[in-house]
């Protein structure tokens, strides 16, 4: 999946949380600005690993070591913005 529509990315991320990680939450209940772990969606450690692995596969991107940080995974908003930028960069590289 290569898309650079932020709305679609957010929706895809929420679907991953609900369907791939089997988190007991509805897509509609996940707010764009809430934390993905502490006090928010509540992804546990194993779910976080799976989340990263699935994102890399679905969006055909790779997180660098320094990119795996608490600020980036603070919310769907932050993450979608980051993925959007990565995908855009990828598309430019492919078109060159």
């Amino acid at each position: 999946m290569i898309t650079k529509d932020p709305g679609m990315i957010k929706s895809a991320l929420k679907n991953i949380i609900v369907n791939d990680l089997s988190v007991n939450v509805n897509v509609a209940d996940i707010r764009d600005d809430e934390s993905l772990f502490d006090g928010g969606v509540g992804l546990d450690s194993i779910a976080m690993v799976n989340f990263i692995v699935v994102i890399e596969k679905r969006f055909d991107i790779s997180f660098e070591e320094h990119e795996i940080n608490a600020k980036l995974f603070a919310s769907i908003n932050e993450l979608a913005e980051f993925i959007n930028a990565k995908v855009e960069k990828l598309m430019i590289q492919k078109n060159q």
């Binding site: 502490d38 450690s45 194993i46 070591e65 940080n69 608490a70 980036l72």
Partner: protein, 477 residues
């Protein structure tokens, strides 16, 4: 260590090294002022009358300050691990419960952000330690029977930490990352206290996950990192490089050699720690940087001041004589339980193998071994065989049934099935007979949709044996 020693340690804590958690950073030179803030809260709550403080543990700087304060003042305290239900888990012998303000609270140091509330269930022990005796209570990691608590003296807790320093030499210049709970002996005795005693830089992570872990590894660049086998596996699964290698200490179940090798190649030296709450750290494997070995050595070497003996010679129960072990077990009322004498050799209930030259190997829990047809059988090994042989078995728990007429070592396997899968006892037994040694094949199989886990992540073995007992009782009604 006495009160004067500790006061001196705090007085000398003037360095610029930082202590950090997910909310804030302070330097060692801030500590004396902050301890005054903690003291104000205690003075307002009749400090002199407190018998034992039940501390709701979190990995935060506020907790560090509280621990230092309680140790310095020799106030008894109990560490309640995070996520434990307070009202069910707080023992009767705690008269005061100490909690921390939530993360949303805007900290204005030196306000320590702590609250003291009375424990409505408190009863003063009839046969317990006295107040202000510098006693530290931990939850026992036992999985069955009535709850009991492990009592350390503050002095032995510090001595225990010093043993660790002698093995791995944390220095003033060291940077120590602690993503494991400091309410347990591992995080406290191997991570927090040794690092504090040396005035090293410390970073704490609360409710660790891989994102927080990688974040802090990059930002803090630690030299020593405490991990669990589960975290190691998750780090390997993510398969990301780290810009700086570190020494990783792992406790809990043993990390298998192939995992150990892959981890070491990618992230740095890693050692397995062997210990328990009653004794703290007992032994470690030796890292490549110190031993010159290939870094996947399974052998444990006891820490200085700790003597390990294998009962009966070559193979038997691991026994330990520790210079800084626990003092007593106490019950939920705080009364000292008879029978436990910390001055004699401590029996770990683990099976070990003497490897010579003071090295030993840990084979598993003693009650996980049984003699069958003249062979010593490890139940852990049988469980692993079943899980690897059958893709449809997600978890197997094997235990020894009550001795029945005509034979001993009757093995029962309770298996958790993968979602939507079914198996029959006959089919499973037939495959086992073809693929496993005769003495490894369980006599009975039972299949469950799910086997509950404890808060520690370990399988609830008490549930499994209760399930079997109920099954047997119903069968003969």
């Amino acid at each position: 260590m006495n009160r004067n020693y500790f006061l001196r340690f705090l007085d000398e804590a003037r360095g610029d090294n930082l202590l950090s958690d997910e909310r804030e950073k302070i330097s060692y030179s801030d500590l004396p002022g902050m301890l005054k803030g903690v003291d104000r809260v205690f003075e307002e709550n009749d400090k002199a009358d407190i018998y034992c403080v039940g501390v709701l543990v979190e990995n935060s700087l506020s907790l560090v300050m509280v621990l230092l304060y309680l140790l310095r003042e020799r106030i008894n305290f109990f560490l309640l691990p995070a996520n434990s239900p307070v009202h069910q888990s707080m023992p009767f012998f705690c008269d005061v419960i100490l909690s921390f303000d939530p993360p949303s609270y805007e900290s204005t140091r030196p306000d320590p952000g702590i609250r003291l509330t009375p424990n409505p269930r408190f009863t003063r022990p009839a046969n317990g330690v006295s107040g202000r005796s510098g006693s530290v209570f931990f939850t026992s990691s036992g999985t069955s029977g009535l709850p009991k608590y492990i009592l350390f003296t503050a002095e032995n807790l510090i001595r225990n930490a010093e043993n660790w320093l002698e093995r791995f030499g944390i220095f003033y210049s060291s940077r120590v990352l602690i993503p494991v709970p400091v309410g347990h002996m591992y995080g406290l005795g191997v991570g927090l206290l040794p690092a504090l005693l040396k005035g090293a830089s410390i970073s704490l992570i609360e409710k660790n996950n891989v994102v927080k872990f990688f974040d802090r590894m990059a930002e803090f660049a630690p030299e020593v990192v405490l991990v669990t086998p589960a975290l190691c596996k998750m780090i390997l699964l993510l398969d990301k490089p780290l810009s700086k290698k570190a020494l990783f200490i792992s406790a809990g179940e043993m990390i298998q050699p192939d995992t150990l090798r892959r981890f070491k190649d990618k992230y740095g030296d890693i050692v397995n720690l062997y210990g328990c709450t009653e004794q703290g750290a007992i032994a470690t494997t030796v890292p490549e940087s110190l031993s010159g070995s290939d870094g996947t050595d399974w052998r444990f070497k006891p820490l200085e001041n700790v003597i390990v003996q294998i009962d009966g010679g070559g193979q038997g129960e691991i026994c330990c004589r520790h210079n800084a072990g626990f003092e007593w077990y106490v019950d939920t009322q705080g009364d000292i339980m008879p029978g436990a004498d910390s001055t004699v050799v401590f029996r770990t209930k683990d099976m070990g193998l003497d490897k010579g030259d003071h090295f030993f190997e840990v084979l598993g829990r003693l009650d996980h071994f049984v003699n069958r047809f003249g062979y010593l059988v490890s139940l852990d090994e049988v469980e692993k065989s079943l899980e690897s042989l059958f893709a449809d078995i997600s978890k197997a728990v094997v235990f020894i049934g009550d001795a029945q007429d005509g034979f001993t070592g009757h093995l029962i396997a309770i298996c958790e099935l993968a979602e939507g899968r079914t198996l029959t006892e006959g089919d499973v037994k037939a495959i086992c007979r073809d693929s496993m040694q005769k003495y490894h094949v369980p006599d009975e199989f039972h299949f469950l949709a799910a086997i509950p886990k404890l808060n520690s992540g370990k399988v609830d073995r008490a549930y499994v044996t209760d399930y079997y007992r109920t099954f047997i009782n119903n069968k003969f009604i």
